[in-house]
């Protein structure tokens, strides 16, 4: 009896998993398609799905338009249009950009696209619950073999997704364009050499991929997604990446199989985990992240597949490096004077005349600067990307919470312990993921961040439970009491100065040299005896420690943990893209980032321009897109421009002096 029950359960799970699996398969091939045709891991894939799903919801549910009209507009027209436009205005220019630049741009789009959509359509003005499928009465269910229940929605989901995939393969097989596309998928350069119009092919691929994103978004609304908000759709891109990674990003059929596999695992795994345990309760939604993490860490050959290049790659021009304009060192020092003066000016103003609101805002700006120094270390110096900054911030925050609550420790000491713990966890996480390198590393940290968010946070020894008050006391030090906002502000400024000195010291020291060398060429670094793992772990641990320290200070400042509003994983993406687009290579970039992040929205957007808060996300997305043109960062770019102008002035002055000298004898 038991055996039959187990088989039954298994079959049931497979049947339940197939419809979702078919949509995942669709997503996986859509995602792989654009990766193969343009080399871009499109993080905005989920955002594209969101836009179509939201449009369908708006038209069909709210305005009660007929299903087919809503479907035609949202999926048939809007989705491919978005894909083609994005390719035309954004992705096309990214072909020669560095992997970091590509990731930043798509991450920016991922945040910005839904917000732009909301601003344009005023979408979230009312409830976004109650998504429906693409057939009437979708919840009616049938029984397969008179036994296993399946809803009409699920049947439709399965059929449409399979049709979508079949159409792609038919396209590939039977049309000229499909043939060309297959060529581009195999070797973009080879096809270019053969004179095939790669532009047209990639435009078509983006349109098609976007269509699949939209279709998947709408299809999932009838089953697994019930709230039409961007967060629910973000999962899709993780699923897509995980499935595509199973196919090592090289093959569409394997990606398709990967999608099915993930969909079925998604329903089978939870049946084997005690549903009442913390893991059991929270694993469900984070399963894609866990699987992605596991695939990246455990699947052999992921790293190799990163490096196995186009057979024609030898004809590539060398990848372009960010060239740094060479200017006299004191010219660049002089260029720092205005920002320094401004910093001192703000500091004095806050101390003497700011009210409590602005005082707290600037205190947070200072604290965020400390967090952003983590980006200076790992990305600016190390040239790599971590999307788990929020998790480390939260580790610092939780450490302070637990230590002050259970041991009545001084919160400042607890923050230091939090930093150490963050660094230690960072080093541990680094061991399996650092070997992945570049994009895969970034994705693994992203998966970690979401796993941390969905599961780890819920453990009572990690975060505050919903029953607990998450209060955190301000520290005292000797006779000083930092309960006072002004003295706390001063404390944070001092700590920021210490942390900045710390990062400058790393930058000027061996760590900076080694990381710069590794960034320039890993093989050459090894050839002079540098152990890449050692220095990458150092960078990751130092960066994680800084983020944890900043996270701890942040919650001490707010006197409560506020996990959701401070440390949601997507916030980390926002931080990263913000700092990178401003200037990630310099310590001052982190500080400017802190001010822009915390003060700019309140001051400029809301108080001065009276815009909705969403505008900051939209603007930020545009900034990220612009990043591909100025990879050194916008602030650094404009500063360099003025420094160069200044430099020219000096040399012209010198030249004139020279000229007047030589004129005398003649």
């Amino acid at each position: 009896m038991l055996a039959i029950g187990a088989v039954d359960e298994f079959v049931q799970a497979v049947i339940q998993g197939l419809p979702v699996g078919s949509v995942y398969a669709l997503i996986a091939i859509g995602f792989t398609l654009t990766y193969k045709t343009s080399g871009i891991l499109n993080l905005a894939f989920g955002a594209q799905a969101y836009v179509s799903a939201a449009t369908y919801f708006e038209l069909h549910v709210r305005r009660e338009w007929p299903i087919w009209v809503s479907l035609l507009i949202s999926v048939g027209i809007l989705a491919p249009l978005i894909g083609v436009l994005l390719n035309q205005f954004v992705f096309k220019n990214l072909r020669t950009a560095s992997p970091v630049a590509r990731l930043v741009v798509t991450a920016g789009l991922m945040v910005a696209l839904p917000e732009i959509f909301k601003i344009v359509t005023d979408f979230e003005r009312e409830s976004v619950f109650g998504a429906v499928g693409i057939v009437p009465d979708g919840k009616i269910f049938y029984r397969i073999f008179d036994r296993y229940p399946i809803t009409r929605d699920e049947i439709v989901q399965f059929t449409v997704a399979i049709l979508g995939a079949l159409i792609l393969f038919a396209l590939f097989r039977f049309t000229r364009l499909g043939l060309h596309m297959r060529g581009v998928v195999e070797s973009p350069r080879m096809t270019e050499l053969r004179g095939i119009d790669a532009e047209k092919v990639s435009s078509f691929a983006w349109g098609l991929s976007s269509l699949y994103a939209g279709l998947a978004g709408v299809l999932l609304c009838s089953t697994s997604i019930t709230t039409i908000e961007p967060g629910s759709f973000f999962q899709l891109v993780i699923v897509a990446i995980a499935a595509a990674a199973l196919g090592k990003l090289v093959s569409l059929p394997l990606a398709l199989a990967g999608g099915f596999f993930l969909g079925i695992m998604n329903t089978i795994l939870p049946t084997y985990i005690t549903p009442t345990s913390i893991i059991g309760q929270n694993l469900g939604p984070s399963l894609p992240f866990v699987m992605l993490f596991a695939i990246l860490v455990f699947m052999p050959g992921i790293k190799a597949s990163k490096e196995s290049r186009d057979p024609m790659a030898a004809v590539d021009p060398p990848t372009d490096t960010i060239s740094i304009a060479q200017v006299s060192p004191w010219a660049s020092r002089i260029a720092l004077i205005p920002s320094l003066l401004m910093g001192v000016g703000i500091f004095i103003w806050v101390l003497t005349s700011a009210d409590q609101f602005w005082m707290l805002l600037f205190t947070e700006a200072v604290i965020y600067s400390i967090i952003f120094l983590a980006i200076t270390v790992f990305t600016g110096m190390g040239g790599q990307i971590s999307l788990a900054l929020t998790s480390f911030g939260a580790i610092g925050a939780f450490t302070v919470f637990q230590l002050t609550k259970n041991f009545e420790m001084s919160s400042l000491l607890a923050a230091l312990i939090g930093a150490a713990l963050g660094a230690a966890v960072g080093a541990l996480l680094a061991l399996p993921v650092l070997r992945l390198g570049h994009i895969w590393l970034a994705l693994a940290t992203l998966a970690f961040a979401f796993f941390f968010d969905a599961v780890m946070v819920k453990f009572p020894w990690v975060g505050p439970t919903s029953m607990q008050t998450a209060e955190i006391p301000r520290p005292t030090l000797g006779g000083l009491d930092f309960g006072n906002d002004k003295s706390f502000f001063l404390l944070c400024v001092v700590l920021l100065i210490i942390c900045s000195l710390f990062v400058s010291a790393l930058k000027r020291g061996t760590t900076g040299y080694m990381l710069q060398a590794l960034r320039g060429s890993e093989v050459a670094s090894q050839s002079v005896g540098i152990n890449p793992t050692r220095w990458r772990i150092v960078a990751f641990a130092a960066s994680s420690g800084l983020a944890a320290f900043g996270g701890a200070l942040l919650v001490i400042g707010q006197e409560s943990v506020n996990y959701g509003s401070n440390f949601a994983p997507l916030t980390g993406l926002f931080w990263l893209v913000l700092v990178i687009t401003l200037a990630s290579r310099r310590v001052s970039g982190a500080i400017q980032g802190g001010v822009v992040f915390r003060v700019f929205p309140d001051l400029i957007l809301i108080r001065l321009l009276h815009l909705a808060p969403q505008w900051q996300f939209a603007l930020f997305g545009l900034g990220a897109i612009n990043f591909s043109k100025h990879p050194e960062g916008l602030l650094e770019y404009s500063e360099q421009k003025s420094v160069r102008r200044f430099d020219r002035l000096i040399s012209r002055f010198n030249a004139r002096k020279q000229a007047s000298k030589t004129e005398v004898p003649s």
């Binding site: 020291g509 093989v523 670094s525 540098i530």
Partner: protein
């Protein structure tokens, strides 16, 4: 006991037998050439010696120590120095900073904790050591230039300088003449020879261009299709029937 002894090295890529029972022996202070037409497996062999690739079979002994399972950076510390066929430099660093990196790596004096107490900047002694090599290669005028602005010829010299900083016992060069014109190649060979005679390290020159090998090396190995063909005094190898066959047989055309 020779400085480098490698024997029965085999490597397969998929169905391609890229190396088959390949071997080499190099004495201390010797200049040895490894020649063969394009696709012969020279780079593959080179990478197996350095640990960039793991051979499927065979043994590599360096300076009396078996190095088969050591990663690249550990072999480098034992005394392997190298340059790259497609030049590999540290974008964003100046010429001298390239040497500082290598010097730091060699003396092992840098650490995260030293950085924290502001002891991380290069010391006078380290800079002096770097300047010495900079002068040796005639890079004095451009020591503070960013590497990104240099010509390929200068870049190759910087690669040599960087490799010299770790005081290699054996310097391996993969097609150093590729991308250089005749004059640049001559200048390069002249500088290299001068330094080698001063510092007495061994050289393995991997080349497709027969001219450079015949003027520069004392002994040469000829390989084709992943296998050893002949070895001996460079002048003998150059005159050999096997060489003519390897190069002409491939439809490559001998280099002059």
């Amino acid at each position: 006991m020779s400085l480098l002894h490698a024997a029965e090295i085999g490597k397969t890529f998929g169905s391609l037998r890229a190396l088959d029972e390949m071997f080499i022996d190099i004495e201390a202070g010797e200049r040895v050439g490894l020649i063969g037409p394009n696709g012969a497996g020279k780079t593959t062999f080179f990478n197996c010696l350095l640990g960039v690739l793991n051979p499927d079979s065979g043994v590599i002994v360096f300076d009396g120590k078996e190095v088969n399972n050591l990663p690249v950076y550990k072999r480098a510390r034992l005394g392997f120095g190298r340059t790259f066929q497609r030049i590999e430099l540290f974008s964003g660093l100046t010429v001298r900073e390239h040497l500082v990196v290598a010097e730091r790596s060699r003396n092992g004096r840098g650490s995260f904790l030293r950085d924290l107490i502001w002891q991380g900047s290069p010391s006078k002694a380290e800079l002096a050591a770097c300047d010495e090599v900079v002068e040796l290669l005639g890079l004095g005028d451009i020591r503070h230039e960013l590497i990104d602005s240099l010509s390929l010829g200068k870049g190759r010299l910087v690669e040599i300088a960087r490799a010299l900083m770790v005081q290699p016992k054996l310097l391996l060069l993969d097609e150093p003449s590729s991308g250089l014109d005749v004059q640049e190649t001559e200048a390069f060979a002249e500088a290299l020879l001068r330094i080698q005679q001063e510092r007495k390290f061994a050289i393995l020159l991997v080349e497709h261009d027969v001219d450079l090998v015949s003027s520069f090396t004392q002994r040469a190995y000829l390989m084709d299709l992943g296998r050893h063909i002949i070895n001996g005094a460079t002048s003998e190898v150059m005159k050999s029937e096997e060489l003519r066959r390897a190069y002409l047989g491939d439809g490559e055309g001998a280099q002059q």
